[in-house]
Symmetry: C2
Subunit: 416 residues, 2 copies
């Protein structure tokens, strides 16, 4: 028990020693003694958040009262925070707005996309997509008299080439949330455009994890959440990106007053604001939104190419540990070994995934699982170390060898 | 300047001396020296909020990490907070859900209402309704092939009696947000039902301000915000009430994963949860939602009939002050003097409303205005005193007499 093979132990130490991003870990308040590999479900608390929230609550709200909307510029927070997220997803200022949940933003994005292709009858999405994406594709299709086709990412280019002429929009994630497989967002975007369709991307498992190029890749619309790799806090506001070329003709279904051209004019008719502001809906949850804004400062001065390189180092190292320590115990990797096809997580399969993840948590390693048999280990290069990965692999080995877990299959109650 | 007529001065003191709700003021952290009469735009900071937020951020999120969703029962917060709001609007448990913005909840409510009356072609709303309500009625109508008719509340009963057979739903507020006039929610609900239509109410300016009886009045659906009389903080999550009889057939347009019968099963098809939980959409903004939950404890043990009585005393007294001190200066009351037709605000008309409200703020009295000529003074019986009302009237008189304000008409940048 707890013996660590010398080779991987030395490798972990060497990789951490040469990690230029190591100081960023101090930007997070991680609990002592916990290896946190579930930041792809809920990012940990950034150190910048508590003082900002204290200021927002006591000084801005408590003392500023209604005047804080202008005095502390709460009103512009959705576009200001949107721009901060835009910097992480390759979007120029004025193309991203923060607010609402991913589900609501998806509804707005898919509705707007369908309206931009009124002569087409299909929405295409991934049968392996996160459920809310599929549910909302169905909802938008039902309301607009469209049909939904489910096509796996691997088959999408062929499908679009052969049957793409009726496709209004494709709705995909660049990351399979279960396996951590990375799809080629830019190639699939080009394939959608060749078919005359729009490309709508869900960046929940991508934003903040690796470089993205919304503008340069010609993505039409994208959404994502604020609480995974962006570490904005539980249920942090989501975001919506809209390519500049679509702004003038963007008609979102949720025409709330905040998206009006003159929101305080309280006019009789809805006139959408120019630019991305027309994608605003109602009054945003300021406490959660400004917590997200503070959290995003953890990325200040950070090069996402370096984040990507370290993330691949972490996941590659973990795959090596898994091969050496866990494969003999019946674990298999669900995540591609090819770095180009690997997002910022490693998923392992084991029939006792649920019990093993629970036991790991008791031993200070927080991961999560997806039914029926996937253990997910998310890495965030801003705070994860190679030693963390080794600890996770060693403890998982020890728990498995000792049989120190409940082998009953069971559904977990966790949030992706 | 600053002389106070003895009669109103004595009356203020006497009314405050016999105010049984006076101790509730300690439940709010009001800034020193400020008379805050804009709690109908943004409620002040309740004392219960900061310690809860500190706990939520540091212990629940910071230390609990992903496990907090179950350990601290974040998952059930939307229905738990919904039930706490339900107690204030006359709704039994399990009929109200908190989350999202009023605009999003309205879209869901109006979409669900239209779906419950699929054979009807009209949505009816108030031309004086808050803009987002009208914009979203238009949005839902457009998406479902309906038409919107705008009918003033005073004409609604007659309209429904004569032309109600094509009305799917009526969408109204019991309070005119500009004048503070109170409409008869229960009589209008009955009139809608006589026509076979559903009654959808926007309670933004009502919830927490006076007693409401959603269940007993037979209201079909209702929405409201968390940041006015509920004092849940800027952009606090909104709520949706749905009458028990509609739960089984409730089909909201925004079918996000949180409303699924088995949200963690991540099933292929959307199956709505039983009960009010099916009206959940995406992942809720937990920081803002738990701040709202803490804010609602300001109502613990409070009798809303007493709140109503004190509110009428405050607004009645202010109308008397206005009559004595301000009418001679050209101010007229836009709020009905009949208590049965008065919500929890007093609106005065003056052509220089904008400059006067700005000047008042400089003199420590925070009110707001609505273009072109309305000064709004909102009262919240949980913390407003009769002395506050007198101070507001006296300072407004003094500013007006001294001409100590900018008479330029101008649009304000404030949030209702």
């Amino acid at each position: 028990m707890t013996t660590v093979p010398a080779a991987v132990g030395e490798q972990a130490g060497a990789l951490d020693a040469e990690d230029a991003l190591a100081p960023l870990r101090d930007r997070f308040l991680l609990p002592e003694g916990v290896v946190y590999l579930d930041g792809n479900s809920l990012g940990p608390l950034p150190a910048a958040v508590p003082p900002v929230l204290t200021d927002v609550v006591h000084r801005q709200w408590g003392e500023g009262l209604i005047g804080a909307w202008t005095e502390h510029d709460w009103w512009d927070a959705p576009v200001r925070v949107g721009d901060a997220i835009g910097r992480l997803i390759g979007a120029a200022p004025g193309r991203t707005v923060a607010g609402d949940s991913t589900s609501v933003q998806l509804f707005n994005a898919l509705g707007a996309a369908a309206a931009l292709r009124p002569d087409r009858t299909l929405l295409v999405t991934d049968p392996g997509h996160f459920p809310t994406d599929r549910y909302l594709a169905e909802a938008v299709a039902r309301q607009r008299g469209l049909r939904v086709r489910q096509v796996r990412p691997a088959d999408l280019e062929r499908f679009l080439a052969e049957e793409g002429d009726q496709v209004a929009a494709v709705s995909y994630s660049p990351v399979d949330y279960r396996t951590g497989e990375l799809y080629d967002l830019e190639a699939l975007t080009r394939a959608a455009h060749r078919a005359g369709a729009l490309a709508v991307w869900d960046l929940c498992h991508a934003a903040g994890a690796f470089p993205l190029r919304m503008d340069d890749a010609g993505v039409d619309l994208a959404v994502g959440c604020g609480y995974k790799f962006l570490s904005g806090g539980p249920g942090a506001p989501a975001f919506l990106y809209v390519a500049r070329r679509h702004h003038e003709n963007l008609h979102t279904p949720l025409t709330g007053w905040s998206g009006h051209a003159d929101p305080f004019g309280l006019a009789q008719d809805y006139v959408p604001a120019p630019g991305i502001a027309r994608a605003r809906i109602g009054t945003p949850p300021i406490l959660s939104l400004l917590a997200l804004e503070a959290a995003l400062t953890a990325f200040d001065g950070v090069d996402l190419e370096q984040v990507r390189a370290k993330s691949l180092s972490l996941t590659g190292f973990f795959l090596r540990c898994a091969e050496e320590l866990l494969a003999p115990l019946g674990f298999t990797a669900a995540t591609p070994s090819d770095p180009a096809r690997r997002a910022s997580q490693v998923s392992l399969r084991h029939p006792h995934a649920y019990g093993l993840v629970r036991a790991l948590a008791r031993h200070g390693v927080v991961a999560d699982m997806r039914a029926p048999d996937i253990l997910r280990f998310g890495v965030n290069a801003l705070y994860t170390t190679h030693q963390d990965m080794l600890t996770a692999a060693v403890r998982l080995r020890d728990i498995t060898v000792a049989g120190d877990y409940d082998p009953t299959p069971q559904e977990p109650g966790a949030v992706t």
